[in-house]
Symmetry: D2
Subunit: 120 residues, 4 copies
């Protein structure tokens, strides 16, 4: 994060790095990551790191998402590790092992009969 | 990452965590982060952490993006810190301080006359 | 939609155009649209169609989003005009003019005191 | 588009509907569409319209994407049908039937040996 901050400061880019712009840049990079996977079958996607060219693209886009996430967290004063840890604890309550094992149902649907449901 | 891996394993969710699905979940969470900011003015966005409710929403969505990014990196065998560091070095070459200072032009436009341009 | 369908059929691309893949492609194109706007100030964004190069980029990305949306609707058998019309009617109920005038609060927050809130 | 424009005007929401904000809202809705599909297998995704609840969610999110796309096009003065038609013509040149038949390779890779590649 320090190196990234210096990189931005040297280029006088803080002016562009507003929370709103960084949230957009993060989502745009997440979109580029989608682009790598969008036409692959599940089997091709599972083997994506075995192709030199695609593996490089994946590493690049994953890095871009991470860099913008670090920037956004820095600008907003959010401690990423702490936020993730707190969320994982809340998720453990929302998704008890006994109810959610092997199910992709969203927590609002746990215990309900019926189909596999999207999880948030 | 270890705690996250255990969380997923206990719930038998590895079956859902294919690279393709995780890339989708990551992009969906980046979209929820956009939602927090989309109707805010730049001034409101800059003050977003001063509102308890919005600050909590930001922390939540930032955490969700981070958790899915960690999962994706884990499943693909990508070292996040190393990938980000390598990308930052490539960016330092693409965006020399002398040419890019104070400009949001994309590297393919650096040195070219004309308007501020989106950076990738 | 007919021309698009023919375009896809001629190239034998139906095999790639599953609902899941098309939803990914749509989101990836929405990300490219974000990229056009992400470093622009509100004033620059409002004048985006006055720059030949940026106007062309906007038209391109808007078209890409529309084409994938048409494809997805076609593959899923969703009538876009009807779905939009039905949603607009539901929104008219969720956002009564008297309560929502001039406010960006989400419908779940209407009537509540406090800050401007994201709308879904 | 006229009904949508009236809906927005009655609520005095033009102030929020800047190109930048609308591009964000569009991407956020594309993210909600991803969320419907992200944990589904290809088979489940193909059958998504047979489940009442999921079909309703799909129609809702597809409508949201369309409504924001219409708003953005309206605000920017882009003719959606014309932009899509022009793009389809450019794509027909970039992806000649003879070279692209049955292949998901991006146009920059057409003719090149090697793996199936993401298309933009």
């Amino acid at each position: 994060m320090n190196r990234l901050r210096a990189f931005v400061r040297e280029r006088d880019w803080e002016q562009f790095h507003t929370p709103k712009n960084l949230a957009m840049a993060l989502a745009a990079e997440a979109g580029e990551l989608l682009e790598v996977f969008q036409w692959l079958t599940e089997a091709e996607a599972a083997a994506v790191m075995e192709s030199g060219q695609k593996a490089a693209a994946v590493r690049e886009e994953v890095a871009d998402v991470f860099l913008y996430l670090l920037r956004l967290a820095d600008v907003l004063g959010v401690d990423l590790a702490e936020a993730a840890s707190a969320k994982l604890e809340r998720n453990a309550v929302k998704y008890p092992v006994a109810l959610s094992k092997g199910s992709a149902r969203k927590y609002t649907e746990l215990g309900a009969p019926g189909q596999v449901e999207a999880r948030d």
